[in-house]
């Protein structure tokens, strides 16, 4: 992670993503998800069928692309990984057999593990009137 120079301050001066091997972070995501990101050939079928894509700031296939490039920064700051409904549509449709659903989960977990914090606070969530299934889904997805 330390080698990436696309963080906000640098970006203003340098518009280029400096490519270097980013094995640590990527390895972690791949280990958690059990997927090889280089198996993806960027056809975009996942994005074409994703039910949440209209709400997303990065298309699902772009999430994989950034992983391939080792561009961690834009991933950490994106909404997409949290909006992913874990519905497995992309996984079911990917022609290369890549489970993007698992990778999305891998990215979320890798973030939780580095931050050592949850995305949502379960205490606050239970105050809202949510269907039970949504509550469980949200807790599973957004907490470490």
């Amino acid at each position: 992670m330390e080698t990436i120079s696309t963080n906000k301050e640098k970006r203003s001066t340098k518009l280029r993503l400096v490519l270097k091997k980013q094995e640590d972070w990527l390895k972690k995501v791949e280990e958690i998800s059990g997927q090889n990101v280089f198996a993806c050939y960027q056809c975009g079928k996942c994005s074409a069928g994703c039910p949440m894509s209209a709400e997303m700031d990065l298309l699902p296939n772009q999430v994989i692309r950034l992983l391939q490039l080792g561009a961690v920064e834009p991933l950490l700051n994106c909404r997409t990984i949290w909006l992913c409904a874990s519905c497995f549509t992309c996984t079911a449709r990917c022609p290369k057999g890549v489970s993007l659903t698992r990778l999305m989960e891998g990215v979320r977990l890798a973030i939780f593990r580095t931050r050592k914090s949850d995305e949502i606070s379960p205490k606050e969530m239970v105050k809202e009137t949510l269907p039970q299934i949504a509550l469980i889904g949200a807790l599973r997805k957004l907490t470490a």
Binding site: L15, R16, L17, V18, L19, K20, K21, N36, F38, A39, Y41, Q42, Q62, R65, L66, Q68, L69, A71
Partner: protein
């Protein structure tokens, strides 16, 4: 004379525009026309049957077929009329499709009038036609193959195995071409020289193959069936019969120069073999670098070192005359020079390499023994950037075409690099990955997936130096990000261009080349291995960029064409040849100079009477002589002045009447 006119609908192609009924009515009224009819598809079986039946039934003596271009079906119809005993030269095709209905679909009435004129002209021409018979010329059943790369090797072996003699001429000191320089070959990764050298040896040993290396074709005269060829054997200054290939001379030689075979990345002596498996294994003194000149001998190191006394500084070039019936062109390719890609640092930074240079670095027998090292400092590069389409698909660099093989060899390079330097990083810039071939796509996917190569979709804008690194500025259009890579080495997949002097050779053989200098085939789909110059066949990358499997297939195809030609004892040629009318010819000889095929000679009889004579075998029936002659002294059979005049008069008839 009983002329039959057959008018084809070609489905709606002709009938959708022209008024066929009117054409039939009007054609029937023409002079000497005994019968006119129409048919939906004359080229179909029943269409041809109809023509044949009417010829017999109505005893037609001449036939006009108004249909598509004679390029399409002239042969079909000629065969059909011949089957019922009509001489095929008494048949005329009126092209009312390409030259009428297709181009005038927006003006059907005028088009019908034009079609009528075309038919009228064809009737006028055919009414003066004479029956002609094909002429036979002798056929020398030997072949010349130019270029000793894998294309030339394959073609030579196939023809020689078919039982005919082959002269194989290679410009460089050894057989093998570029394939000999490759490390391993995609997609199977078999060692290139391991699969190539047995073929090279087979060529050298083959009783039907005469091998000339370090030689060039200097002159070619004649035509299919009987080419006279002059081969120039350049002097090696080493007697090939005495040289044992021991290499003692090279050991003794004090001069070290870059080895072309290693793309200049390795060294050789002034007396050398390009590579250890060279065929023939005969040393060559490169006089350009040897301390001696033709006039001054200052160094005799190799002379003294050579046991069998094979060195001879005074050797002269030799000319060898041969006769062959056919020629296979297999002169291969070169790479666009690195210098043409300055924006990528080509020719500026030593660590910006071409694909062939990288092949030599990967090769176990290469200058670095297969260890990938930077030319600048010998360090092992830890980050390598590969740039595809370097010059290819780039009209601004003069190569709008795809070089076809570089997507595949770049994937191979990335894989072999990762195997050689497992902790290294490889990046590939591409526009599209073109991997259309058996197991090619699988290979590329394997490289991406298993070797974890980052493929970046986009072109590189520039490469520049920062300290001891090469900075590559490119883009990844998939993520929309401009990227920068600090690389240790950059490999350019430079465009494939025709090999040096292809254009000169093509000119000598009157074989057309395309706008990029590749040899042109007669028909891109249906006759891909033949040149429009008869008796000349094409093989390998000289025709267009191609990989080894395609090269070998094309070479075998060219060989089978030659074998087909050689299956005849004599050659039968079309009788469309110039004929001298001795009554009119007074020997002014204007035509002698204009004939592009040197087919005409001036004859002076004993009584001083002069006239010209045509060598039928050489004449291609182009008609330059006929157009030049002021006295109607020479005519091309089948296209005589009278026939052409009648045709023109028929076309202009309406206007005359007005």
């Amino acid at each position: 004379m009983r002329i039959g006119v057959f008018i084809c609908h070609c489905g709606k192609n002709i009938a959708g525009v022209l008024d066929i009924k009117r054409l039939v009515e009007e054609a029937a009224k023409l002079k000497d026309v005994a019968y006119a009819t129409d048919y939906v598809y004359l080229c179909s079986e029943p269409g041809q049957k109809e023509i044949q039946q009417k010829i017999k039934e109505l005893e037609l003596t001449h036939v006009v077929i108004a249909a598509c271009s004679p390029k399409m079906h002239a042969t079909t119809f000629a065969r059909a009329v011949e089957e019922v005993g009509l001489n095929p030269y008494l048949l005329e095709i009126a092209n009312i499709r390409e030259q009428c209905s297709w181009v005038h679909h927006d003006a059907p009435e005028e088009a019908t009038e034009k079609a009528l004129e075309i038919i009228r002209a064809a009737v006028a021409k055919v009414s003066l036609a004479k029956p002609l018979a094909p002429i036979t010329v002798p056929l020398t059943r030997k072949v010349l193959v130019i270029g000793g790369g894998i294309a030339g090797i394959q073609a030579a072996l196939d023809i020689a195995n078919g039982g005919f003699e082959v002269y194989l001429v290679e410009r460089s000191p050894s057989l093998g071409g570029h394939m000999a320089q490759l490390s391993e070959t995609f997609p199977t990764l078999d060692c290139s020289s391991c699969i190539l050298t047995p073929r090279m040896v087979e060529v050298a040993r083959h009783p039907n193959i005469h091998l000339f290396t370090y030689a060039e074709v200097k002159n070619v005269e004649g035509i299919v069936g009987q080419y006279k060829v002059t081969i120039e054997q350049k002097p090696r200054y080493v007697d090939p019969d005495k040289c044992t290939g021991c290499g003692d001379c090279a050991e003794a030689c004090p001069v070290i120069v870059p080895n072309e075979f290693d793309q200049g990345l390795g060294a050789r002596k002034a007396v050398y073999v390009p590579f250890p498996q060279a065929v023939p294994l005969v040393y060559t003194i490169d006089l350009e670098h040897c301390l001696n000149t033709k006039r001054l001998i200052v160094c005799e190191q190799c002379y003294h070192a050579c046991g069998p006394k094979a060195i001879n500084y005074l050797m002269e070039p030799k000319e060898i005359e041969i006769e062959v019936g056919a020629i296979v062109l297999a002169t291969g390719y070169d790479l666009l020079p690195l210098e043409a890609l300055k924006e990528y640092g080509g020719g500026i930074y030593p660590d910006v390499l071409s694909g062939l240079e990288f092949e030599r670095l990967l090769s176990a027998s290469g200058p670095t023994g297969g260890i990938v090292r930077r030319p600048s400092d010998g360090k092992i590069p830890k980050r390598v950037v590969f740039i595809q389409c370097a010059g290819s698909r780039d009209p601004e660099h003069g190569c709008p075409y795809c070089s076809k093989i570089c997507c595949m060899y770049t994937a191979k390079h990335a894989l072999l690099y990762k195997h050689a330097v497992p902790d290294g990083e490889a990046y590939v810039f591409y526009i599209d990955v073109r991997a259309a071939g058996k197991r090619y796509e699988e290979f590329v996917q394997r490289v991406m997936e298993e070797e974890r190569i980052v493929y970046l979709r986009g072109k590189v804008s520039k490469v520049f130096q920062r300290k001891d690194k090469l900075v590559v500025w490119g883009v990844d259009t998939l993520s929309g990000m401009a990227v920068e890579i600090e690389a240790d080495m950059v490999v350019l997949a430079t465009a494939i261009v025709p090999s040096k002097n292809t254009a000169d050779l093509a000119k000598l053989l009157k074989a057309p080349i395309d706008e990029f200098g590749f040899l042109n085939e007669v028909h891109p789909k249906l006759r891909p291995v033949e040149s429009s110059a008869m008796g000349i066949y094409l093989a390998g990358a000289a025709q267009a960029p191609k990989d080894i499997p395609d090269t070998v297939s094309q070479a075998s195809a060219a060989a089978s064409k030659v074998l087909g030609l050689f299956s005849q004892e004599e050659l039968s040629l079309e009788p469309i040849k110039a004929e001298v009318n001795l009554e009119n010819c007074d020997g002014c000889a204007y035509c002698v100079d204009v004939c592009p095929f040197d087919a005409i000679t001036l004859v002076v009889e004993e009584d001083g009477h002069k006239h010209v004579e045509v060598k039928k075998a050489l004449c291609q029936g182009c008609g330059c002589c006929m157009a030049t002659c002021p006295k109607e002294g020479i005519n091309v059979a089948g296209f005589t002045l009278n026939q052409l005049k009648a045709q023109i008069h028929a076309l202009l008839k309406e206007d005359e009447d007005d």
